[in-house]
C-alpha cells in the first residue's frame, strides 16, 4: 500500500512537471509524460500482458492499458497518463473501501471465542474451543466469552446475550442453567459442563449461517451477474465498431478522433461498481439484522421480506408467551377478604400439585402478596382427577377446580365470558369466586401488529386454540384476520390460499415458533422462526430466525430489508446511469477520458460507500 502511494506520488510529480512544460518545451514534456506513464502504469501493463498469456482478454488491466496506449498514439499525452493515474488512485481507494468493509464484517463476526479454560485433573488449562469434548468441565471467568454451549454446574453470574439476541438486558444464570456460546460472562466465575462440541455450538452455527447467507443469492444479484457477463463484451464490441465504422463510412471523420471516443468506451466497460456493491449491500443488510439478533439465511430472503404483503403469525409462542399466568382474580359477591384471600386460599390448596395451572396460581400469590403456599399447612388434600382439588386450610374447606367440580358439588356459579382457563373456588360449601388464567400476550405483540399494518401489510393469526381465546387475542392485537381451531394441515391450506390471494410480486411471511410449524414454514415464501435460542429445530426449518422472542423484531427486519433494497437500487441506477451517460457523451465526442475514468473507479468507490450504509442501519 505504502509503496503504491510513493509510486503514485512520484508519478504525479513528474506528471505535473510535464504539464507545466507542455507550452514551452514540447519534446521534453513528451519525454516526461512517458516517464510518468511508465512509473505509474508499468504494473497494469505487466498484469495485462500476463492475463492475455493466460487466455483472459476482457480484463480491467487490459482495457486500461489499451485505452492509455491508444491515447498516446492519438497524441493525447496528458490524458494517457491521467487515465493510468486516476485508475490507480481509484483502485487504491477501492481497495481501502473493500478492506474497510471486510473489517466491519470481521468485527461483526467477532463473537467467535478464542479459547476455553478446560478443567483438568491438575488445574485449569487454556485450550482452543475445538479441543473440548462433550461432558468436560470448563471455567468461565468474568469478562470472558462463553466458548461452548453447556450447563452451569457451579457458581452464578449474569450473562450479556447481546451478541446472540441483540437484547441488552443481562440474563441471570446459576447452577443448572443452560448457557449458550457467544454470550459474555459479566460478573461471577462459573463452571460449565459442555453439552455440545464447538462445531455444533450456537456461536459456530450462527457464524456459519451468516457467512454462508450470501451464497443464497437475491434475484437482483443474479441479474447483476448475468448482466455483467454480457455488458463488458457488448461495450468493447461497440468500441471497436465506433473506431472503425464512422471513418470508413464518411470522408470527414478523422480516425484519431473516433479512436479516442472508442477508447473512452473501453475505460467504462468494467461492471465492477455493480459487481461489488450489490452483494456488499445485501451482506451489510444481513449483518445489520444479525446485530439485532435476527438471523437471515440468504440474501434472497432479505429481498423477499422487503416485499411482504401478508404476515401470517401463529398465536401460541409467537404472539403470546406460551406461559400461563393469572390474568384476573374475581371474588364472588359477598366473599370476605377480596381477591387477596381468594388467591391465597386457591394457591394453598394447590400447593402440592405441579400442574402448570397450580404453578401459575402459586407464582401469582407469591409475586403479588409475597405469599408462600408451601408454608401453609393444607390438610386432607384430595386430588380429583380431571376436576381439581379439595383441601382444608386454616379450618376452612376449600374446593378449587373447573366447572365440572362446581356442578358436582351443586354450587351456584356464573360462567365468565372472558377467554382463558377458569378456575373456580368454593369455600365452606359456598361459591367464592373465580380466577382467570390465560396465556399472556407478549409485551411488544400489539406494537408489532400495529407497525406491520402501518406498512400496509395484512396481518393474519392462525391458531389451534379455541375460538374465544383466538378472537379475544386477535381483537386485542388488532389482527386483520383470525383463524382458530386449526390442525397443522389446516394451517398449510390457509397459507396456500393466502398465497394465491396476494399479488404477483408480494410475498407471504409465516412466523411461528418453529416447533410444530415446519410444514407451514416451508410452504410460506419466507418462514420466520421465533426463539432460535436453544431450539435447533427452529434454526433448521426457518429462513429467518428471530433469536429473542420479540415479534417487534419483525418491524426491524422489514426496515432493514427495505433499506437494503433501496440502497441496492440506488447503486444500480446510479452506476448504470453514469456509465450510460458517459458512453453516450463519449460517442458524441463530448466526454473526455477523465469523465470515463470517473465513471469506472469513481462510481465504484461511491457505490461501495453507499452499500456500507446497509450495515450501519440499526
Amino acid at each position: 500500500m505504502k509503496r503504491r502511494l510513493i509510486r503514485l506520488g512520484i508519478g504525479t510529480l513528474i506528471f505535473s512537471v510535464a504539464f507545466a512544460l507542455m507550452a514551452s518545451a514540447k519534446a521534453l514534456s513528451a519525454a516526461a509524460f512517458l516517464a510518468a506513464y511508465i512509473i505509474v502504469g508499468y504494473r497494469v501493463i505487466f498484469k495485462a500482458a500476463r492475463n492475455i498469456l493466460n487466455g483472459k482478454v476482457f480484463d480491467e488491466n487490459f482495457l486500461m492499458a489499451v485505452a492509455s496506449i491508444g491515447a498516446f498514439i492519438v497524441g493525447e499525452y496528458p490524458e494517457a497518463v491521467a487515465v493510468m493515474l486516476f485508475y490507480q488512485v481509484g483502485e487504491l481507494f477501492e481497495d481501502y473501501a473493500v478492506g474497510k468493509s471486510r473489517k466491519s464484517i470481521a468485527d461483526l463476526m467477532n463473537i467467535r471465542p478464542d479459547y476455553a479454560n478446560l478443567k483438568t485433573g491438575s488445574g485449569v488449562e487454556k485450550v482452543s474451543p475445538e479441543q473440548v469434548k462433550v461432558g468436560e468441565i470448563i471455567v468461565i471467568r468474568p469478562g470472558e466469552k462463553v466458548p461452548l454451549d453447556g450447563i452451569v454446574v457451579s457458581g452464578h453470574s449474569t450473562l450479556n446475550t447481546a451478541a446472540l439476541t441483540g437484547e441488552s438486558l443481562p440474563r441471570d444464570v446459576g447452577c443448572g442453567s443452560e448457557i449458550l456460546s457467544g454470550c459474555i460472562n459479566l460478573s461471577g466465575l462459573i463452571e460449565v459442563r459442555t453439552e455440545k462440541e464447538f462445531g455444533q455450538s450456537t456461536v459456530s452455527r450462527i457464524l456459519e449461517l451468516v457467512e454462508n447467507a450470501t451464497s443464497q443469492k437475491a434475484r437482483t444479484e443474479n441479474f447483476i451477474t448475468r448482466f455483467a457477463a454480457v455488458y463488458t463484451p457488448a461495450v468493447v464490441g461497440a468500441a471497436v465498431l465506433l473506431a472503425i465504422m464512422p471513418p470508413l463510412l464518411t470522408d470527414t471523420a478523422a480516425f484519431s478522433d473516433w479512436l479516442y471516443r472508442a477508447l473512452n468506451f473501453l475505460v467504462v466497460s468494467c461492471p465492477c461498481a455493480l459487481v461489488i456493491s450489490v452483494p456488499l449491500g445485501f451482506f451489510g443488510g444481513i449483518g445489520a439484522a444479525s446485530k439485532i439478533g435476527v438471523l437471515v439465511k440468504g440474501s434472497n430472503y432479505l429481498e423477499a421480506a422487503a416485499h411482504a404483503e401478508y404476515v401470517v403469525m401463529d398465536k401460541t409462542g409467537t404472539l403470546t408467551r406460551g406461559v400461563f399466568e393469572v390474568e384476573k382474580v374475581q371474588p364472588a359477591e359477598g366473599f370476605e377478604g377480596g381477591p387477596e384471600r381468594l388467591l391465597k386460599l386457591a394457591a394453598a390448596a394447590e400447593s402440592n400439585s405441579s400442574h402448570p395451572i397450580s404453578l401459575s396460581l402459586r407464582r401469582a400469590a407469591e409475586s403479588n402478596y409475597g405469599f408462600k403456599a408451601e408454608a401453609v399447612s393444607a390438610e386432607d388434600v384430595t386430588e380429583l382427577a380431571g376436576h381439581g382439588v379439595s383441601a382444608e386450610i386454616d379450618g376452612y374447606k376449600v374446593i378449587v377446580g373447573n366447572h365440572k367440580l362446581m356442578n358436582k358439588w351443586g354450587l351456584d356459579f356464573k360462567t365468565p365470558c372472558e377467554a382463558g382457563t377458569v378456575v373456580y373456588v368454593a369455600v365452606d360449601g359456598a361459591y367464592a369466586g373465580y380466577i382467570l388464567i390465560a396465556d399472556q400476550l407478549k409485551v411488544d405483540a400489539a406494537d408489532a401488529v400495529e407497525g406491520l399494518k402501518k406498512k400496509g401489510i395484512t396481518t393474519v393469526m392462525l391458531t389451534g386454540d379455541s375460538k374465544t381465546a383466538a378472537d379475544s387475542a386477535g381483537k386485542k392485537l388488532g389482527m386483520d384476520r383470525v383463524y382458530s381451531q386449526l390442525l397443522p394441515e389446516d394451517k398449510v391450506n390457509i397459507v396456500s390460499e393466502l398465497s394465491r390471494e396476494k399479488s404477483e410480486k408480494g410475498k407471504l411471511l409465516f412466523v411461528g415458533d418453529g416447533i410444530n410449524d415446519a410444514p407451514v414454514l416451508a410452504r410460506a415464501d419466507v418462514g420466520v422462526a421465533m426463539g432460535g435460542l436453544g431450539s435447533d429445530a427452529a434454526i433448521e426449518a426457518a429462513d429467518i430466525v428471530i433469536m429473542d422472542d420479540s415479534p417487534s423484531k419483525l418491524l426491524d427486519l422489514m426496515r432493514i430489508s427495505r433499506k437494503t433494497i433501496s440502497i441496492v437500487k440506488q447503486n444500480i441506477v446510479f452506476a448504470l446511469g453514469v456509465k450510460l451517460l458517459v458512453l453516450v457523451l463519449s460517442a458524441l465526442g463530448l466526454a473526455s477520458m477523465w469523465a470515463a475514468v470517473f465513471a469506472d473507479v469513481g462510481v465504484s468507490i461511491l457505490a461501495i460507500i453507499n452499500s456500507m450504509r446497509a450495515l450501519k442501519e440499526k
Binding site: R50, V98, T214, S215, A228, P271, C272, P279
Partner: protein
C-alpha cells in the same frame, strides 16, 4: 461433499464472479459460490476424482486472478 477454500489476496469483485461462474461449469462440481467479502469459495463437489477436479479448479482461479493463493480450510 462440501469444500471450503480461502482465496487469499482476492481483490477484484468481477474476477470473483468470473471464478464462481467458471468453477461451477467444471464437471464434478455441483455448486460453487465465491464470497468476495470473506474471500471464501464454498464448493459442493463429487468425491470421485476430486484430485483431478481440484487441479482444474486451481487452474481457473489462476487464470482469473494470478495473484491469489488457494488454501483449504
Amino acid at each position: 461433499m462440501k469444500k471450503t477454500y480461502l482465496l487469499e489476496d482476492l481483490c477484484c469483485a468481477n474476477c470473483a464472479a468470473a471464478i464462481e461462474r467458471d468453477v461451477a461449469k467444471i464437471s464434478g462440481v455441483n455448486g460453487a459460490s465465491v464470497n468476495f467479502l470473506t474471500t471464501k469459495m464454498i464448493l459442493e463437489v463429487e468425491e470421485e476424482n476430486y484430485e483431478e477436479t481440484l487441479k482444474r479448479i486451481k487452474k481457473i482461479v489462476k487464470k482469473n486472478e494470478p495473484d491469489v493463493t488457494i488454501k483449504e480450510i
